[in-house]
Symmetry: C2
Subunit: 222 residues, 2 copies
């Protein structure tokens, strides 16, 4: 646990909390660390979730299994992101998503119910924590909205351009690297990989974008 303390301290959830205080908090939340292998389920759709998770190493897919067959990758989460923050707030609610380990990952689990009624203890750290949780939740909201924007475009071309333009804005630069490989990007955008590759080449030949591996450049920014 100590090994990860300085990393955890930098997480959005514990932002602004001192290392000594963090130690006490982790204790209070019954923190535990577990390693998962690729493909292992951290949360299963339908589970009643009572813990909050934080990714310390590796990456995790948020998936949704539909009754009608397909499995959808909603998000890919990386280091220091939280899983299921929203689920804990609505207590006893069944998880509407699954969290699946992508590349072998180290996950921190926090039992928030242990420090039961949040905020009865009005110490300043508690306030920080709650504000952090709000920020994370609302950031997640914004990311989901962004995904909806991306996949709501009519054509493959528009989906690509919208996604790239959003990435560019987030990176505040017309050159940036993306987190997905081609198949993952196609899954995220809900399109066929080969059709996407084709369209990407076309955009390149038209001089609208340039890319090499996962590094992209947008030329005609809106």
């Amino acid at each position: 646990m100590e090994k990860y303390l300085s990393k955890i301290k930098k997480s959005p959830l514990f932002l602004g909390i001192t290392e000594e205080e963090l130690s006490r908090m982790l204790n209070c939340f019954g923190a535990s660390i577990k390693k998962y292998e690729t493909g292992e389920m951290i949360i299963r759709q339908g589970d009643v979730v009572s813990k909050i998770y934080m990714i310390l190493e590796g990456s995790v897919y948020i998936e949704k299994d539909s009754y009608w067959g397909r499995r959808i990758i909603v998000q890919k989460l990386n280091e220091l992101n939280n899983i299921a923050l929203g689920l804990v707030a609505s207590r006893n609610a069944e998880s509407s998503i699954s969290a699946v380990c992508h590349k072998s990952a180290t996950i921190l689990a926090l039992n928030f119910n242990k420090c039961s009624s949040m905020c009865t203890n009005a110490c300043s750290h508690h306030v920080s924590l709650i504000q952090n949780m709000f920020k994370i939740l609302s950031k997640e909201n914004i990311e989901l909205l962004e995904k909806i924007e991306n996949i709501s475009q009519k054509s493959i071309r528009d989906k690509l351009l919208t996604f790239l333009s959003n990435e560019s804005m987030k990176n505040k630069s017309s050159s940036f690297e993306i987190n997905f490989n081609r198949q993952e990007l196609a899954d995220y955008l809900n399109i066929d990989r080969s059709a996407m590759s084709f369209e990407m080449s076309k955009l390149k030949s038209e001089g609208l974008i340039d890319f090499e591996k996962n590094k992209f450049t947008l030329f005609e920014l809106p």
Copy 2:
């Protein structure tokens, strides 16, 4: 304002708060009520939002304008729903969405910054309020995930069946009414209305579903 008190009291945001306390809170938050006409903007994409809104009458579209032209309807919100709850948490962040009045609406605005640092005042009502806010935010998250599930299906048929199956589950019944007319549903599912109508008729003739106007019945539930 008094006219709406009993309604506001039933809202998810103020759940569990007494009417007397509510009055005091509304005062503390500098509550104001405003009427909007169809098409009027309540929040404009890019605005820095510092107020939380609650719909008292009418309905509101949450829209996203893409740089690449299209306007996407992300959600349709009805009575007692909140707008921009998430935006207030991440202070000074520009709104990534627009809120547009659908049918002339009455909107309550609350200035949460007025009662600045939330939770310094550790009264029990404050705690309720914060817990309610968490629940609402996480419910919004879940709804966005559901929308992503719906529109991530491959075919029109699957989108329809997924949407209907989700509605059925939410209503805990195989018969239920939906909130959208055909064009709105098509917009929400990101498909062509006429193609959707065609597929709906097909599903009906195959005996999988039945519908009349906005009342639907699912026959072969998963």
